[in-house]
């Protein structure tokens, strides 16, 4: 006799469902002007924008409910900024949700808006960059993107009845900055919690922060050497929809270098010492038993034990006696 809670009828198992939930793509572009000058011969911002626009169009063409958001990270004039959607153009946002079946028009609209805003951003840059400080950072832009994603995925669906998945693409050209380590890590962990995968398109130097970011969040990390094929990279490897991720093999290397680097000597270390107060890592026991970052004093007894090198007991000669008993 079946339990009452069991269904009386078995239903046919649906075959592999084609998941059609719309998704949100948030693109964070690193617009650090100092770094872009380093890449002068290789690629310029305009080229990158062209490729990004094609990527956005492709994303919008996948599903009529797909949305995009584009952010720039830093500039000499202002910090991270939304290029799209534009906060000042309120009428647009409402129209977007009703008219999203309008393919070409939507492409044109989005593309035009982004180009416009980018132009405004570049126009506002001061002409003498020497005395200006760089405002904003990748971590700041990622935080903004994450809170936008949070709003669209957690708070709004209650009103629209649609679930939305999200993923983030970071296009970066700069090196890691140790100042950014803590906020960067915070972004990565919150992305992990929100199940947002971070794909990284990296040009220029390699970055271990971003590698870790994509690894922790099940994303793709690509170091682009040949920038002419940028569109192709963007539309294939870095384009995998969140609904396809469970069945696709992601093109990343799994041999990541997770080792830490010492705060004092900046060497990469395998075995080190960790201060229990401020959690900073050293390769050697600091002098005076005081932690350089938090100035907290270490317990002498503990330090002494750590400093102890293993004692080698000298080999003692064994005398062999006639009766076979060894005596030392």
């Amino acid at each position: 006799m079946d339990a009452i809670a069991d269904r009386a009828f078995q239903e046919k198992q649906h075959n592999v469902s084609q998941d059609e939930t719309p998704s949100l793509l948030a693109v964070v572009i690193d617009t650090n002007p100092l770094e872009w000058t380093k890449l002068k011969g290789v690629i310029c911002l305009k080229e990158l924008c062209k490729s990004v626009l094609v990527l956005l169009n492709a994303h919008l063409s996948l599903n009529s409910g797909n949305r995009v958001a584009v952010l720039t990270s830093s500039s000499l004039n202002s910090g991270p900024k939304f290029l799209y959607p534009d906060p000042n153009d309120k009428t647009y946002e409402k129209r977007e949700s009703l008219l999203s079946s309008d393919i070409h028009r939507q492409f044109k609209f989005v593309d035009q808006k982004i180009i416009q805003e980018l132009q405004i951003l570049l126009d506002n840059e001061p002409l003498n960059p020497e005395n200006q400080e760089l405002k904003g950072s990748i971590a700041g832009a990622m935080s903004m993107a994450l809170s936008y994603i949070n709003r669209l995925t957690n708070i709004e669906p209650e009103s629209t009845g649609n679930t939305l998945r999200a993923k983030m693409l970071v296009i970066s050209i700069s090196d890691d900055s140790t100042q950014q380590y803590v906020p960067f890590m915070n972004c990565i962990f919150s992305a992990q919690k929100m199940k947002v995968s971070i794909d990284v398109c990296k040009m220029g130097p390699d970055s271990s922060f971003l590698q870790q970011a994509s690894d922790v969040t099940n994303g793709v990390y690509m170091l682009i050497k040949n920038v002419h094929g940028l569109i192709q990279y963007l539309t294939t490897a870095l384009f995998i929809d969140p609904s396809l991720r469970p069945i696709m093999v992601l093109p990343t290397n799994s041999d990541l270098d997770f080792r830490a680097s010492c705060f004092v000597t900046n060497k990469v270390i395998d075995i080190g010492y960790v201060c229990s107060v401020c959690l900073c890592i050293f390769s050697i026991i600091p002098r005076n038993n005081v932690c350089p970052t938090c100035q907290s004093k270490f317990d002498d007894a503990v330090v002494k034990k750590l400093r102890q090198k293993p004692i080698v007991i000298p080999l003692q000669k064994k005398k062999k006696l006639e009766d076979g008993v060894q005596r030392t």
């Binding site: 809170s147 936008y148 906020p183 915070n186 959690l279 907290s296 503990v302």
Partner: protein, 447 residues
């Protein structure tokens, strides 16, 4: 007796003078009365607006608060209520020194009283679900810590799962005790002794803590509990107790003595939501009190290894469980393979962690400053939230504000803007909660 009578009379005078506080619709509210002499602050805090004790007030009906405004729309009120609700998430954050590496024993009461149905479906089941969530959050926020679980049942303490750093074991163990029936009497002393035993071998750099969920009002011990308490204090084990029924004096004393006189660690739940909040509060590391610091001769330095990850086409055995797996981590000390981190290498006893694990605890050490609410004004600089672009409601002029006839409504008028003290950008309440709960980064400062 005399005392309470006096208080009553005094407050009666207060009522005539402060007419504004009495709401015509009979909604019970607590208001501050400057005229009252603060004879017994505790008593006064308990008084309701009608001057008597809180159980003498008129019944507080939730639908009375919500009033329609002139246009007939409830929207303003509803948003105000929602914001007030969200604000309670914001905790006080000052950068304390905290014990990041923790060894904790979770003690769960499984005596007869836990089968009461005042919490749905019954206390024991709700406790277990909350405990599972607690375990997951605990290892999420404190990746290099360790946890063990003990059960109080039938007058004795039983070990549910060993002290370890693997959350899955604990969750499995908790699920398996769901099937047990709560019976017998609780015994605080037995539980504490067992927890002491478990925490005996913890290294000096980690904190020792006991978190107890206590539902009964008595304890049946084989000996003198005060000796146990003395040994707990001597071994510097800190105890936090969550009561489910009512305050019990012995629990209060335990908490006070083991935490250097701090009273806040013993709490009794008000409702299910409060239960969860209290439990999740224990996830954040405890601050190291000054008196404890004085006793210590200094902090500890921990030797740790940072393994490299490898992936293999052909599976090989891991040193910790002898399981066949593809890839794993290689200990830098002895080059043996372990399957997951964080762990202690079984061959050379070196603690193996990743720098990401340490990074998870950074936000406790460098907490984000609270955002301040922007006061009501006629117009504001910002029209949209800086990080999520939601629209803010418009500013209201002075006259509009004073026109609102209902005091209840007035309380819920907010500007909905919260400002970061460093970069002065405005955020909405959802972003505020998100940033402080999950992200721990201010998007405007970017650093």
């Amino acid at each position: 007796m005399n005392d309470s009578d006096d208080d009553y009379l005094e407050v009666d005078e207060g009522i005539e003078e402060n007419d504004l506080s009495f709401d015509k619709k009979g909604v019970a509210r607590r208001t501050r009365k400057e005229n009252q002499k603060q004879k017994t602050t505790a008593n006064i805090a308990l008084k309701g607006s009608n001057g008597g004790y809180s159980w003498e007030d008129e019944y507080h009906r939730s639908w009375d608060i919500v009033q329609e405004d002139e246009a007939g729309s409830l929207e303003g009120i509803v948003t105000g209520i929602m914001e007030a609700h969200k604000k309670r998430f914001l905790k006080n954050v000052t950068p304390f020194q905290r014990g990041i590496i923790r060894s904790m024993v979770l003690v769960i009461d499984f005596s007869k009283v836990m089968s009461e149905k005042d919490l749905r479906p019954n206390r024991a089941a709700l406790t277990i679900s909350n405990a599972i969530e607690f375990v997951n959050n605990f290892f999420d926020q404190n990746p290099i810590s360790q946890l063990g679980i003990v059960l109080m049942r039938n007058g004795i303490a039983t070990l549910v799962s060993e002290v370890s750093g693997n959350p899955n074991n604990h969750v499995e163990a908790l699920r398996s005790i769901r099937r047990l029936e709560p019976t017998g009497d609780p015994s605080l002393q037995n539980a504490f002794e067992m927890a002491r035993g478990l925490l005996l071998h913890t290294p000096s750099h980690s904190t020792r803590e006991i978190l107890m969920i206590f539902g009964a009002l008595f304890t049946s011990d084989p000996g003198d509990i005060h000796t146990t308490i003395d040994s707990l204090v001597k071994e510097k084990i800190r105890v936090k107790i969550i009561g489910l029924t009512a305050q019990v004096a012995i629990c209060k004393e335990i908490c006070r003595r083991t935490n250097y006189g701090d009273d806040t660690l013993y709490a009794v739940i008000l409702n299910e939501g409060h239960f969860k909040d209290l439990l999740l509060d224990a996830v954040t590391p405890l601050a190291i009190s000054k008196s404890a610091q004085v006793e210590m001769r200094g902090f500890t330095l921990i030797k740790a290894g940072f393994p490299t990850r490898i992936s293999e086409a052909i599976p090989s055995f891991c040193a910790c469980h002898s399981k066949l797996i593809h890839g794993g981590y290689i200990c830098p000390g002895c080059k043996s393979k372990v399957c997951m981190l964080p762990t202690v290498c079984p061959c050379c006893n070196l603690m193996l962690i990743l720098s990401t694990h340490l990074a998870r605890s950074y936000h406790h050490l460098f907490p984000l400053k609270l955002f301040q609410e922007v006061p009501l004004a006629e117009s504001y600089i910002s029209t949209n939230c800086f990080s999520c672009l939601t629209e803010f409601p418009q500013g209201m002029s002075e006259s509009e504000r004073s026109n609102s006839d209902n005091r209840a409504k007035k309380e819920f008028h907010t500007s909905s803007r919260y400002q970061c003290p460093d970069c002065n950008k405005h955020f909405c309440v959802d972003c505020d909660v998100f940033v402080h709960d999950v992200l721990h980064n201010c998007p405007g400062c970017g650093c």
